[in-house]
């Protein structure tokens, strides 16, 4: 029922109010310090910043993000299935076979990612250095 979600909406407002009000109070009563050039530089352990601030980072992070999207969508499918499973499995095993075919296909995809070393963080594609751990 939609009106069940009114309290959720009120809680959202309360959460936003808390975050905004604490930041506002801090701005109002916080002590003001002097400004200087050094204060405005990025923190690099006291040295002047070197090079570009957005450094290049491993492509593995991108792979993990893609795999997450794939797997997380499967999880959402499984919730709807899990809720009705116990009632329906009495009548026929169709719900059993259909979902476990799905999980099987998912698992093949998982094995593919595993064999491609998508989860191996010590392995860099194109280099011949052996895996350490």
């Amino acid at each position: 029922m939609p009106q069940d979600y009114v309290p959720v909406f009120l809680q959202v407002l309360a959460g936003i109010f808390f975050a905004v009000s604490t930041l506002a109070v801090s701005v109002l009563i916080g002590k003001r310090g002097r400004d200087s050039v050094a204060k405005d530089t990025a923190y690099e352990c006291g040295k002047d910043p070197i090079g570009d601030v957005h450094t290049r980072f491993s492509v593995k992070f991108y792979l993990v993000a893609m795999l997450f999207i794939l797997f997380d969508i499967e999880v959402v499918f499984m919730y709807t299935w899990a809720v009705v499973y116990r009632d329906m499995v009495h009548h026929s095993l169709a719900i059993f076979y259909s979902m476990f075919t799905f999980i099987g296909i998912l698992f093949v995809g998982y094995l593919y990612a595993l064999k491609k070393k998508a989860f191996d963080w010590t392995h860099t594609p194109g280099s011949s250095s052996p895996n350490r751990s």
């Binding site: 009114v6 809680q11 930041l23 801090s26 990025a42 910043p49 980072f57 993990v64 751990s133």
Partner: protein, 399 residues
């Protein structure tokens, strides 16, 4: 749908007004309880870590304004009460520090990020039942509370928690990216990869529970545990449950679910041994290196609030929520005065997990990043998938 009215309410006030009013009071109480808990969890962390390392910990800051004469009437005593005034002093200090925004950051996202880290943790608590959901009649008001023990008794409970909790990643990513600095940037991408990796395992780990219970509404999850025994301790039910053999057959997958959920909860809340996003020895402060004052405090509070939410969720899903296996205790459900008692029991169970979180932090060393990722993707993910299959087969056999 909405029938209750205050006794002497004018006839032209619509029926939903008292409901919204009561909900606002509940939200006010709950948010304040959470914030108080957060402050004293920080305090407990400092005290317990001190005990583990054979130190004393903060023990001086007690009654505020100690020794100061208030308006010439009386002098505040200089009691140190084991340092219990420390959280108040910490909060004041965060507010009084300079609210500094460095020149090199993306201003809007830099300010948005701390709020994005704090707000989801405060939101998710609204679907967790901290007391019974039986309707109770409030005395003096002649008003029936439909679900007194929870703010929003929605049918998708757990799904809503996962949906909102995953918004917490944005706070950290935005903080890392908008800081325009190297350490926060590295901390931010590390953290996001870690959190999304373990989010998959976390989502998969509770599916066996819902295969068994067939309901996502958290108040019904607690009711199921009242009838069939707690998820991880199936012999603890309000009625004597030995006749219910299926609970014991399903015990193994439930235990696996619990362990996976526990490990994922540590990773999701960025606690040791998974605190890679802010590992001091490598990344200075991680994603909040450039933050100070209240903006930093919001990250800090958000992390502890997430820990409290994770503990509450584990209590609700695995340890029977507010229930106890005592028939007379469960018989209080229709009385209005039972709500604080149930909430207190819930709080005690939750504190068990909070102490566990703290204890683990000061006992175990930190993982290396590749170990963290291997554990998540190569070990926990296949096991949680296998656990779903196992539960499905068991249920197909015993029904």
């Amino acid at each position: 749908m909405i029938t209750p009215y205050f006794a002497n309410m004018p006839a032209d006030v619509p029926g939903w007004v008292p409901d919204v009013f009561i909900t606002l009071i509940k939200i006010f109480i709950l948010v304040n309880v959470i914030l108080g808990l957060v402050s004293y969890t920080v305090m407990a962390e400092r005290k317990i870590s001190a005990a583990i390392q054979d130190r004393i910990g903060p023990n001086r800051t007690g009654v505020p304004l100690g020794g100061v004469n208030i308006l010439g009437l009386f002098t505040m005593p200089r009691w140190s009460i084991w340092g219990l005034g420390q959280p108040l002093a910490d909060a004041l200090k965060f507010m009084l520090k300079e609210e500094f925004t460095p020149a090199h950051v993306n201003k809007f996202y830099f300010w948005l990020a701390p709020a994005m880290a704090m707000v989801p943790a405060l939101l998710t608590i609204c679907v967790i039942p901290f007391a019974s959901s039986h309707p109770v009649v409030l005395p003096f008001f002649d008003y029936t509370m439909k679900a007194p023990g929870v703010i929003a008794d929605v049918g998708i409970g757990v799904l809503l928690i996962f949906a909102i909790a995953s918004l917490g990643v944005y706070g950290i990513v935005l903080a890392g990216w908008s800081s325009n600095s190297k350490y926060p940037f590295l901390g931010g991408i590390r953290s996001s990869a870690q959190m999304i990796s373990y989010e998959v395992s976390m989502g998969l780990s509770v599916i066996p529970l819902f295969l068994v219970m067939g309901n996502l509404r958290l108040s019904d999850v607690v009711q199921y545990q009242v009838d069939h025994g707690w998820t991880v301790l199936p012999f603890l039910a309000a009625t004597w449950p030995w006749h219910n053999g299926a609970s014991y057959l399903l015990w193994l997958p439930m235990l696996i679910s619990f362990l996976i959920f526990l490990v994922s909860a540590f990773a999701e809340t960025n606690r040791l041994p998974f605190d890679l996003p802010e590992s001091e020895t490598e990344l200075v402060g991680g994603y909040h290196t450039e933050y100070s004052a209240m903006k930093f405090a919001l990250f800090f509070l958000g992390e502890y609030a997430a820990m409290i939410v994770a503990s509450s969720l584990m209590v609700t899903l695995f340890l029977g929520g507010w229930s106890l296996p005592l028939p007379f205790y469960m018989a209080w459900q229709d009385q209005w005065w039972s709500i604080p008692i149930y909430a207190f029991v819930f709080l005690l169970k939750m504190l068990l997990f909070i102490v566990l979180f703290i204890w683990v932090r000061w006992t175990l060393p930190r993982f290396r990043y590749d170990q963290l990722m291997s554990l998540g993707w190569k070990f926990i993910l296949p096991i949680s998938l296998a656990n779903i299959v196992l539960t499905g087969i068991l249920l197909a056999i015993v029904g």
